[in-house]
Amino acid sequence: MMQNKVDKVILIASIAGAILITMLLLPILNILFSVGVDKIFEAAMDKNAISAILTSFEAALIATFLSFIFGVPLAYIMARKNFYGKSIIESIVDLPIVIPHTVAGVALLMVFGRNGIIGAPLDNIGVRISDSILGIVAAMMFVSAPFLINQAREGFESIDPRMENVAMSLGATRTQVLMTITLPLSIRNLLVGSIMTWARAISEFGAVIVIAYFPMVAPTYIYSKYIEQGLVASAPIAALLLIITVTIFVFMRIILSRWRAYDKD
């Protein structure tokens, strides 16, 4: 009787899960197999496509780097200190996850655009953010930095502050403790956070297209191909981008899954 009940639950759960996984996987597999290798190869020869993909990777890398430089210290403070207004800071960090990305793009444009409150003075000294790689980076950071901040914070929180106390009692300065204990112990979180941030930055379209249509990133290029020449023209480059990102993603997952030096048995 009991056995039957459990089986039913597992059965329903499995079916529900299978439907969702199919929904996720079917479009991905379909685009890879329906496009054909020769078309994908052709797309890889398209100078504009390659340039768009490279722009995507480059901007995402810069966005990740900047998120790291500014986000990891913030994560450390949030993990270690209690202060007035901490929950407000927490909400601000998570905000970009719920804001529609086109809204984020418009909001960014009003700040960084040529007439924006920061964009205008910068424009006067010849620095343009909108319609430049800087704008792309800004849009990418806005939507992806939360991933790095939250991952880093989780990593720091998992390290007992008493361990840092002991290190200091042994003569280490705060900086030495950070370099020898805290960062090495949270490196996995920092890496996972960076990869997620980078991946999220690459996949961003809505915010980027508002603040910087040019230079084109890969998603924008695919979109423009689709609008101008239709589905058939956009599919090969979409497949190409998919192959590249999935390969990098899987590769990273494999490296991280083998890297469990400090995990307990």
């Binding site: 008493r162 290190a167 200091m168 042994l170 280490a172």
Partner: protein
């Protein structure tokens, strides 16, 4: 060696209040208190992990109140060891010396010496996650000792260990205290650890120190009811005290006891079980107290038999196996309890 003056520290809703004590060089000082009494906070404040709200700390006459932990040269061992999981045992022990940029050869020597002393030479290349609790504890101690601190702070170092390991580490701690000539402050909730290790004891409750004294003083003459109960005094009675002929007569439930302490009024009395002699007949001695009673219970505790004797009020008495055979003691047998006025501790 270390002097603490009116130390106060608020931590959330809890606070250490006006704590003062001195620990002499080479002394083994135990801070004894129940869970939540502020022992760990006090120890962490001495180490400099928290800023004091008020008061001063001195080591060898030097004011260290505002120094950061890394400037204090105080060793710290947590109950749950806090070993660095990203380093081998060797690197854990060498950590402090490396941070201080000591010569690698010296570091090697010191690590070897400590590993020998604590019998952990065979695990120097292992990582913390596959060590037993006892091994981790010894590594944590070795790591703290490596920098040759003048003062070693131990936060419940024995409570996570089984009985055999506990005795082993107790021996190690005594050896370190003697051979390395280190002053120790050890906090614990265990009166047994305190008895086995302490030169002097401070009893702490709710962030305040209730009594400081030599171990036997605190255990034999607890200053108040809380300490008496906490250190485990079994014969604790409440009654009236009145001075007579240089002694004090204590009355409770029809029983009269003489005490050499000078106090009057509504008081508590304690007599430690091991201070009471049991006899199968009324005896004449210099002891002022000799009261009749009936044996109601006998429990074999291994080395002694713990008996409950009803004298109108129940007394706990320790009896040796030998005495039990000689006097042929059994339940419901009438006996006399004999103890000195000097062993009756009175307090309000």
């Amino acid at each position: 060696m270390i002097k603490i003056e009116n130390l106060s520290k608020k931590w959330g809703s809890f606070s250490l209040k006006n704590i003062s004590f001195n620990v002499r060089k080479g002394e083994y000082f135990v801070i004894l208190g129940p869970t939540g009494s502020g022992k760990t906070l006090l120890l962490e404040t001495i180490a400099g992990f928290h800023k004091v709200d008020d008061g001063r700390l001195f080591i060898d006459g030097k004011d260290i109140t505002t120094l950061t932990p890394n400037e204090r040269k105080i060793g710290f061992v947590y109950q749950d060891y806090m070993l660095f999981p990203n380093m081998s045992v060797l690197d854990n022990i060498a950590y402090g010396l490396r941070v201080l940029k000591e010569d690698e050869r010296k570091i090697d020597e010191r690590v070897k010496q400590l590993a020998d002393m604590l019998s952990i030479s065979h695990i120097l290349h292992r990582y913390p996650y596959n060590l037993s609790g006892g091994e981790q504890q010894r590594v944590a101690i070795a790591r703290a000792l490596a920098i040759q601190p003048k003062l070693l702070l131990l936060d419940e170092p024995l409570s996570a260990l089984d009985e055999m390991l506990r005795m082993r580490i107790i021996k190690d701690l005594k050896k370190i205290n003697r051979e390395e000539d280190i002053t120790m402050i050890h906090v614990t909730h265990s009166r047994n650890d305190a008895i086995l290790l302490a030169d002097r004891i401070a009893v702490i409750k709710d962030g305040s120190i209730m009594q400081i004294g030599k171990t036997e003083e605190v255990f034999r003459k607890p200053k108040n009811k809380f300490i008496a109960e906490f250190v485990g005094v079994e014969n604790l009675f409440r009654g009236e005290a009145k001075r007579t002929n240089g002694l004090t007569l204590f009355k409770t439930d029809g029983i009269e006891l003489y005490s050499s302490m000078q106090i009057e009024g509504d008081v508590y009395a304690t007599i430690r079980p091991e201070d009471i002699i049991i006899s199968d007949k009324k005896i004449k001695s210099s002891a002022r107290n000799c009261i009749p009673g009936v044996i109601k219970e006998m429990i074999d505790m291994g080395n002694v038999i713990r008996a409950t004797v009803d004298c109108g009020i129940p007394f706990m008495v320790n009896i040796t196996h030998e005495a039990m055979r000689e006097m042929n003691l059994f339940l419901e047998k009438k006996v006399w309890l004999v103890f000195k006025a000097h062993n009756v501790n009175l307090f309000r």
